[in-house]
């Protein structure tokens, strides 16, 4: 018992130490300065630190316009104002949007069960189902959002991050992705208008366009302009959701990477130097805090990451397959090339297809690479820690090494996969394999069909 009593004393002392730690840290650069091999921390002017709230403000506001992440107080500077209120109009808007998406998905299911299966028929079904699930995931994330924001704010208070470029990076990415998404959507509308003017010449332009764009709805329900506008809005929302979930994952990854880089910077400056145990301890604690942040964020957004990756995988496969099969110029029965519409001279579909495919692939690759940077940044400390000179080696360095080697710090897709650089390679391999198999699966039937036509013509000839 005496031994234990003594331990208690130590603990209390340590607690006091812990309380004084903040002071010590502030003073550390002071008393470390006379040494020759200190870490040259850049002198920081009293700028305002880059907080999570500020960095993601624009992106989240864009999301809320389309009913995602219905949280109150997203623009406020005080994280305590961020709340999830079931009775807020944002929640109502979100709920109605989810119901709309469920309605679209159900129409597709119904249509699917009537006019049976083909790969092209499956695409809208998957599209609306996934966007519906993504919305639910965002709604779910919104409920955990206030706690997350407060945890992040707490972490930022302890160790503020002055990475000025973070906010700018987030905003530029937001602008670029959404502009390109708008451009793609516009091209899609143009291409559909052109096709509709060929296929539905008897009807008004808008009616034709709507009927051509949403066959899964208007094969079942009668056309009315109101329903058309609603359907088009829901479709626009789906397209936005898809793009936004990628954008959201990118911005969250930016933030997490920036926090890890903050720790790495200090470590890389310390490489090979003789530093006291205190340095390794505080750095390890900072690293630990950053990885805890990654884990907490992952708990909240892993559903969105999963949907984002699944969506990209499926649609890259489908789009590539369509392109390889039909060629980029399209082969549909409503091809507008024969007529030559005024605007883009009949090449609307081709331009849309090429642009859409390139945009889709580059967006998918970008999300994968940027989200994988969280993992890459978490592994930077390893070589520095191996390089610690023997006299400066201590139990703190060992714990640090054990943690960096043992822990897998990365965003994950519902914990099913963790987003690393090697994931991208295996996804690419999967896409190539599926493409080859799917391509093959359609091609023989085409050639066989041709083979049945030929004999007919020749036997009829004589």
């Amino acid at each position: 018992m005496i031994v234990l009593k003594r331990k208690e004393v130590t603990i209390i002392q340590l607690e006091n130490k812990e309380m004084r730690k903040k002071h010590v840290r502030k003073n550390m650069s002071a008393w470390m300065s006379p040494h020759t091999n200190r870490v040259h921390v850049k002198k920081k002017t009293w700028r305002t630190p880059a907080t999570f709230q500020k960095s993601l403000k624009v992106t989240l506001v864009m999301g809320q316009i389309f009913s995602l992440l219905p949280v109150v107080g997203i623009c406020s500077d005080d994280p305590m104002n961020v709340r999830f209120v079931y009775t807020s109009w944002k929640c109502f808007y979100s709920t109605f949007s989810i119901l709309g998406q469920i309605y679209m998905a159900l129409m597709c299911v119904y249509n699917f069960s009537l006019f049976l299966t083909s790969l092209n028929n499956v695409a809208p079904l998957i599209f609306y189902t996934t966007s519906c699930i993504t919305m639910i995931m965002f709604y779910d994330a919104a409920r955990a959002w206030p706690t997350l924001v407060q945890h992040i704010a707490h972490t930022e208070l302890i160790d503020p991050n002055y990475d000025k470029k973070l906010t700018i990076k987030c905003n530029i990415t937001c602008a670029v992705v959404l502009t390109l998404a708008l451009l793609e959507h516009t091209l899609s509308l143009l291409s559909k208008f052109a096709a509709a003017s060929v296929c539905y010449p008897d009807e008004s332009v808008y009616e034709g366009f709507i009927k051509h764009s949403f066959p899964s709805i208007f094969q079942v329900l009668p056309y009315s302009t109101a329903l058309g506008v609603l359907t088009q809005f829901l479709h626009f929302q789906s397209t936005f959701i898809w793009n936004f979930s990628d954008l959201f994952v990118i911005c969250m990854s930016y933030y997490l990477t920036s926090r890890l880089e903050h720790v790495n910077e200090r470590l890389l400056e310390a490489q090979g130097k003789y530093l006291p145990e205190t340095f390794w301890r505080t750095t390890r604690e900072d690293y630990c805090r950053a990885t805890k942040l990654v884990r907490k964020v992952d708990d909240v957004i892993s559903g969105i990451v999963f949907m984002s990756f699944a969506n990209n995988l499926i649609f890259v496969c489908l789009q590539l397959f369509n392109t390889l099969e039909d060629g980029i110029k399209g082969k549909g029965e409503c091809s507008s090339r024969t007529k030559g519409t005024p605007l883009l001279g009949g090449y609307e579909a081709a331009i849309y297809f090429v642009f859409s495919l390139i945009f889709l692939i580059s967006r998918s690759v970008a999300v994968s690479l940027i989200a994988a940077q969280v993992n890459t940044a978490s592994e930077v400390p390893v070589p520095v820690l191996y390089d610690v000179p023997s006299p400066a080696y201590c139990v703190e360095v060992q714990r640090f090494i054990d943690q960096v080697n043992g822990d897998n710090v990365a965003l994950s897709g519902l914990k099913f996969f963790s987003v690393t650089r090697s994931l991208l390679l295996s996804v690419a391999g999967t896409i190539v394999t599926y493409e080859l198999v799917m391509f093959q699966f359609n091609s023989p039937s085409t050639t066989s069909t041709t083979s049945t036509v030929q004999p007919n013509t020749t036997t009829i000839a004589p």
Copy 2:
């Protein structure tokens, strides 16, 4: 030699300590209370702890009704009463059932060698063979069951678990799975009766049903009602076994997860606090005991896990393939849609198919996810251990980290694979690949067949 003698003394002292450990543990919360940063363990009223025996009682009784796990004393509260007796009626029942299943499997093999291979022909062969092997696996597990139960009881004595929800969870899961299985079986019978009434209009309803249901038996043997009833019972038993092995894996996983969660709870409350080495030591020992339990359980049930996963993989593949190929409404020669039977208006087969597929997939996913929770729960301690403050860090924490990182705690399929969340993803990938390849493998021949018909009709025409 003197040095070693001294060590002996230490050992004896330690042994005494070990003996007194229980007392210490009980008193620990007492002497730890004055500290400010103790672990707030919830005050436990003197409820009866949730034992393994009680939690699984209902499930195991259900299994024994269908001759699985023939162990005596399953309902007893004293684990010492659980015995495997070769001469008990349960063993006899089990042996006869195994012989019955072997007979079914052999009939399928014989039938298979007579009327050669097609994918539909393979399905019953696989079905009876796997259910036969599963029964043998359960018989095998029964022999190791008493030792396992006693080991578990011993562990529960040292560290009782008051998770009240465990028993309820097991019983509800048991009820849900078996009810759905019964519903599926009933739908299957209905669909077969309907088909039999179309195909075998000349025979009595029951004879037609039996002949339609078990072509692999009655293409070889002449029909008799007794044989029909026996065959039907054996088929019912097979269906039950398949469902029960999934249920069994789920319940065992519940129990193991609950034990690991018990340790995790205490750890999560300790996160970031300054606790004495004793706390880490006892927690590590508890964790060690829990992982040992997982290992012991896995040694006994890994065969059943393997069969459960293999079965689910094979039948999801086959069922999906059938559905994709024929559409959900069926394409068989005995389709009852043309006639419109009274009960479900000719949609028996369609309803059965859809329900069966959804049930099968959701059951498979559920088994995978719940069994993977054992692995997930075993990795919860890691972030807590990285977070231990430097002054409280000790060799016990290091051992704990080493163990959690180094050890792979999970249920396994005969040690060939361990059940983790990432397994589910790779199984899903395998299913998609096989589906694509199998789908393709049948589709070209269909189109080719069409191509052979067309030329004929055209050449005959002129």
Copy 3:
């Protein structure tokens, strides 16, 4: 400098200790006996220990009869007598056999380049090429054999192994595998004789048999009885080599597993007990010695392991493919079923096919499982080491844990893959995938071919 001098002294003392270690170990059970928690090592009577030389004697002699592993002194008890002599008759025999196999392989290459590619044509080419490479691998292993045997003998001297069952296990396995191989070869001969009597009715039985069996040779060279006998002998040798390489891998795995089990036994008895550091040290050193043995053996035989696994993978794929495509009864143009030969009533080919396939698959699975036991046995210490009570925990235990977790102890195929249980699963997955793809690759052409015949007959009809 003084500090270092002191270290030298310590080192010298320790060296003396090291020299006395053997005595200490022998006496250890003596001085440990009064303790209550000692390891109960079974009293060993003075039996002769199971040496490597004795255990593998029969197997290696069988191999040398067919020119494999041309090492002098394999039957001697003294490992110093084992030598690789370039001028021994065994080496000459081996060299001639390799030349013979190269000749067979070259004939196949030539034949292959003349009568172009089909999957059936590729099989003999692969067969002779692989058996040729396997022979070279064995020749290579023979050169490193004496050093290996002496290293093993040295290890056995330090820590003799009294596993009496080892020699018996090796000899029984040798007998079973070779008997079954002989039976398979006999069935193959019978089936070929039967086919030859149908296809080559004009020639003598032996000439027909030879011409039917080795089309790749006698489509190029004229027939002569001498050449026929030589060819048949070389073919017999190839078949033997294939079987023997599997057998060799099994026996080596038996030995290595037995050495690791020897350490594990002692450890499992020590589970949870309070043992001095000396115990953990000697056990760790024993374990270290066993793993070093695995590494040394792997360096010598990894080429043979690679060939054995590659061979099994390729031929399971080919054989399964042939069986699935043609059915078990064969479809060749020389089918003897129509005639009904006296001996097995025309079912020679069918019986051979079924037996061969079952033998091949079970042998492949057996090799994989038994070779994977080396890896499994090397991981047994982990749970015991996690279970070491805190007071008995020492740096030796930590080193032991680090080693067992960090080291991957397994036989390997040229270091490309290491033989573990999970390997078997991934190989099985690969086989299923390749089967599905290959099956599909042949099936459409068959249906197309049928489609070309049908129109002809119908158009000719009118």
Copy 4:
């Protein structure tokens, strides 16, 4: 504060130690010699050490002739003379070559969009695109080259390497690879000349050859001799780049392996001996330095490694596919076999095909194996470290083990994959799978085509 002051003192002392370390190392062999168990380091005569600059001089000069790695001072002995100068003629040459390759790639893209997709059409597009990207990668590597060379020189100064064989190995490999590449290119020219003389009999030999070789260019642009020569030079350059990137990766791997082997040699001599902590410390530092070198080199050349592996994977797939489909003798419409050209009797294409395929596969395997040796060499220390006797075990040994086990030292392809022996196996598996799928994807259409021809001829006959 006092405690920390004391630490400073220690640090300063240690720094002094660090400064004296070099002297200590030189003297180490001296004061270690009286011990019985020292490491017998071979006496080194004062040869000139094998520097990085000298070893790769010939290879890099060869590269610069073809505009790769435009760095000034590659032949100089002083690493300080190596500079990247934007205004040097090497940079201009490099820039012009890149523009040329971009022009070739764009022509292929344009041609591709005109005359649509087939696998043969894709090959030149991939070829020029990849060689273009590879050139850019080399240009990029050149910019980081001076820093890398200086870092390497610094490392060599601390621990010079006397591996005399290194330079010879690099030069021989350079000679062999480039000679074989030249031979392959010559055969390719011969085969194209022969084909051109059959297909373009009306035109001059050179014009026909150019038109036949570069259909993707001259289907768009009119022929002129100047353009032909330029195109041919750019094509020659592409071929060279492809071969050179493999050669470059091989030579860099040689160097890195040699540095790691240098450490391993010392370690293997120390196996099982009682050595002071200083030995383990210096060895660990040497190992650390070697792995840091691998990391730095990988940062610079990982793009080139990626392109080299991607290129090899793609072209082995394509070439194998072409060979399996058409047979080795070719099936093109310009086959020269019918005419029998004077030089190689019409077998130019066949010889080229076989040689090219063998060269391609063996080069790919060689690159993989040699680059994987870096990883293999980095894992050699593990068994030695496990073997350190208990009294000599110290914190340095533990750090060493932690580092070797935790760190993944290998060249990587843009960090997407790391080059290990198991990579080769998975690449081989991928190639086999893709081959099977692609082969199958073309074969049914061929048989279907045949089936369309047959009915015609038969129906026309009567």
